[in-house]
Amino acid sequence: MATIPQAAVPGFLRRPTATQGFVGWVTTIDHKKIGALYGVTAFIFFILGGVEALLIRLQLAQPNLDVLTADRYNQLFTMHGTTMVFLVVMPMSSAFMNFLLPLQIGARDVAFPRLNALSYWVFLFGGLFLYSSLFFGGAPNQGWYGYAPLTTKLYTPGHGVDFWALSLQMLGIASLASSFNFIVTALNMRAPGMTLLRMPVFSWMTIVVSFLLITAVPPISVALFEVSFDRFFGTNFFNVAKGGDPILWQHLFWLFGHPEVYILILPAMGIVSEILPAMSGKPLFGYAVVVFSGVAIGFMGWGVWAHHMFVVGLGPAANAAFATSTMLIAVPTGVKIFNWIGTMWGGQLRFAAPAKFAIGFVAMFIIGGLSGVTHAVAPADTQQNDTYYIIAHFHYVLFGGAIFGLFGGIYYWWPKFTGKMLNEGIGTLHFWLLLIGFNLTFGPMHVVGLNGQLRRTFTYAEGTGWDTWNLVETIGAFVIAVAVLAFIYNVIITMRSRVRAPHDPWDARTLEWLTASPPPEHNFDEIPVVHARDEFWHRKYSEDESGRAVPRPDYQPQTAAVVQHAHGSGHGIHMPSPSYFPLVTALGLPIMASGLMMKDSYGYAGWGTIAVGAVVLLTGIYGWCLEPVAEE
């Protein structure tokens, strides 16, 4: 493509040049801006998913309430689960990966910058497509896990399930594209001297999660294709009357679904593994063990899926095997907890906001991990399955774990993202409100769950003994809401402030802190040469004979802090140009999906819409291939 002379390129293929404003954002292929887009979008979905949760909690505050109808309630819990998993925790993790991976490994961008933009746009359109169901006859109501045959047209004739299945299919494409991108980036674009075992733990977790995704997305894609073919073309994958098998869905779904749990938690574990060493002034305790236990969790995550299916009737042999494998996976998880404590041990721990959230993560994740062991005990799980005890467990893992970890990451890297420091006082308030609200909401669920309250029930009878705890849970949920408002307020006042953050506010250890805050478009004026794990720390400190860190006399922060240069100036750095085509390509998908849903009611108009979508998609792909490498 580079050989095509500029003069021969038609006008619409010229690459855009704006780096700011609306056009700048929609055409950007800068990994940092794409990271920001992921982050902001995921946060907006977090608010939506949170409002859904508040409505659910209002309906359950007391027995027999009529705040919501059964159908609305069922739509809300389906959307809450789907949103929080696919549109909040995954893309929020992706925001960190996008922003940090190239910076942490000393690269200028990811390997395929336009593919990276495509991932974001496909994710955005997938999310918007799911939410557009609200305007076309109602949201999906079959649960985020969509057990067949609930998802066949016989039981869910509306379009809710169509929106859900097609949207998840799009989100899968986005995940696959960015995973390949991250793997290629991490394996090929590390700075000189950065061996794999010198890579920061967060970058390692990015690789592990990316491999998990490229192996976990195919099973669910296949399963979703089967659901879609049943619904759109009358096949019988899940039609029992014609020999279909609903259990097939469960195997395929959990074959994705359990690795998915690690896809959600490993990035947060990576974040915590970056924060705690910086806040303790010590390297991560047992780096190799933390990395390998992450990899081990990734592999073992493949052998535990049927622990979601202990009451399906797979038989004692399968149940015993999966109970054992589930207990095994607790070992590498537990190891990480001890390594984090080992990191703090002997350090000089600063309780700044990132440290609070990171330690909160560890403290809450311990609870989620332990309750996890109690339902690895398969016979006990026959009583716990589908009760609030399970809800408590996975919220301690995914909220107490993942969300606390992600908030910690936001406080920790905010100065790097934006060049400003979030307010420490409000951060402290945010943390305590979140911790208290979280425990008020999900702590009592252990109790009511063991006392028999079932999940996915829009109401419960009087005299069950659940009233008081449910009211406490509802109050807790609103405390969480206040905590999130405190965070939003913090962001607003910070953005208005003129105080600039230093390039290394935490006395951190990894390469991203070597460059300016926020980093210039090309990240590093000169690609750093890496001599050690925690390269940046070793540029600042040496060790005395007792192993204590001693500041290097020759280190001068003012010269080390990279002066932000204009676009590549003085160094001959040429960054890839923005492009419209990732956006155009992504736009084709929701158009085709809409056509598929229209074909039954509108006939040719539906097929026509599919054709239009296909043309848009192909235009995007051809434009992508034909556009020149750079603007004039």
Binding site: N74, V240, S280, G313, V335, G346, L349, L370, Q383, G452
Partner: protein, 346 residues
């Protein structure tokens, strides 16, 4: 210092409160859906397995959170430190240790877990067979007629069982996946279309035990409830013999008019009343409806007034219910007559 000690106190309190709450919840109660009871042999076995594991978990919780807390306090930056911390990179012996110790604890837990899985899958010889057929949104229980084992006796939403005798439930579904669950007595077992699942348990003493569908099945999943009435063997046998008889309804007065209306309307397309023209099999069998204690999946007491409410508008009581609302097609008086007829079916 003030802020820090508050931080520490709260961190310590939150898990403590949580554990206390857990313990409070773990004690046996008379709550209708409590899972940790010994009313059933199955629930007792599960409880016997769960408690020791929970105690191990609670011990580990206090040990690890305690260690975390101690580390936070002991190694906090106090200000004015003269030296930077020692750059420890790890300790192989320690790390091998904290890999092996949890592995051993889990291996110990795995042994009773596996043996219990195997034990619970056994079916004793003297078990009474009961078929459970789940549908949106009610449970059908099918017994063999004691007089003629090839004839089935069907009841809805209220299962009677002999206390002290093992029951072998064969669990099926006619539509989507449901789950059969009587938490006081046993763990749950899914009802999967196209599959027959087994569950064996014994109610150790007579009583009324509450059950629920535990697998989400759309609209009225939350209201898909039932009861299991455990009674002495003799009483159970009498009940079953009674259920095997055809209907013996009063056919005079309001009830007689109700019978005509019932047999002359759409009711018989779905409901069955043995000994009459009503032979529908997709909705609850009403042959001995008057002997039932509850209505609409244990939602309402079985009174004529509540039957009127149900027939008039079932969807108001159970969203999505498959039965049409007769409020528009039949007069209030007619519906009352039908309720009288159904109540006469003892």
């Amino acid at each position: 210092m003030g802020a820090r000690s508050r931080f520490i106190t709260l961190i310590r309190l939150a898990p403590l409160l949580l554990t206390l709450a857990l313990l409070a919840g773990g004690c046996t109660t008379n709550d209708p859906y409590d899972t940790l009871t010994d009313f059933g042999d199955h629930s007792k076995t599960v409880r016997g397995l769960f408690w020791p594991v929970l105690w191990v978990a609670i011990f580990v919780f206090f040990a690890v959170e305690g260690l975390l807390l101690f580390t936070m306090i002991r190694f906090r930056r106090r200000g004015g430190e003269r030296q930077m911390p020692k750059q420890t990179h790890g300790n192989t012996r320690l790390e091998v240790g904290w890999t092996i110790v949890p592995s051993l604890v889990l291996a110990i837990i795995a042994v009773p877990t596996i043996s219990t899985i195997v034990d619970l899958a056994r079916t004793p010889q003297n078990a009474l067979q009961v078929r459970v057929v789940a549908r949106q949104w009610w449970f059908e229980f099918i017994y063999a007629d004691p007089a003629d084992p090839n004839r089935a006796v069907s009841v809805a939403s209220e299962a009677h069982i002999p206390a002290g005798r093992p029951i072998h439930w064969t669990i099926e579904s006619e539509d989507v996946i449901h789950s059969f669950w009587v938490p006081n007595l046993a763990g749950k077992q899914d009802a999967v279309p196209g599959k027959k699942n087994d569950l064996v348990f014994t109610a150790r003493q007579p009583g009324v035990y509450h059950g629920e569908c535990a697998e989400y099945c759309l609209d009225s999943h939350a209201l898909m409830r039932f009861i299991v009435i455990a009674e002495p063997e003799g009483q159970f046998n009498t009940w079953l013999q009674g259920q095997a008889q055809s209907a013996t309804a009063r056919t005079t007065g309001s009830a007689g008019r109700g019978q005509e209306l019932f047999l002359g309307n759409a009711c018989i397309g779905c409901h069955a009343i043995e000994g009459s023209a009503a032979q529908g099999r997709t909705a609850p069998n009403l042959t001995h409806f008057g002997s039932r204690v509850s209505l609409a999946g244990n939602r309402l007491e079985n009174t004529p007034e509540n039957v009127v409410r149900w027939v008039t508008n079932p969807q108001q009581l159970k969203p999505g219910a498959k039965m049409p609302a007769f409020g528009g097609t039949l007069s209030e008086e007619d519906i009352k007559a039908i309720a009288d007829y159904l109540h006469s079916l003892k």
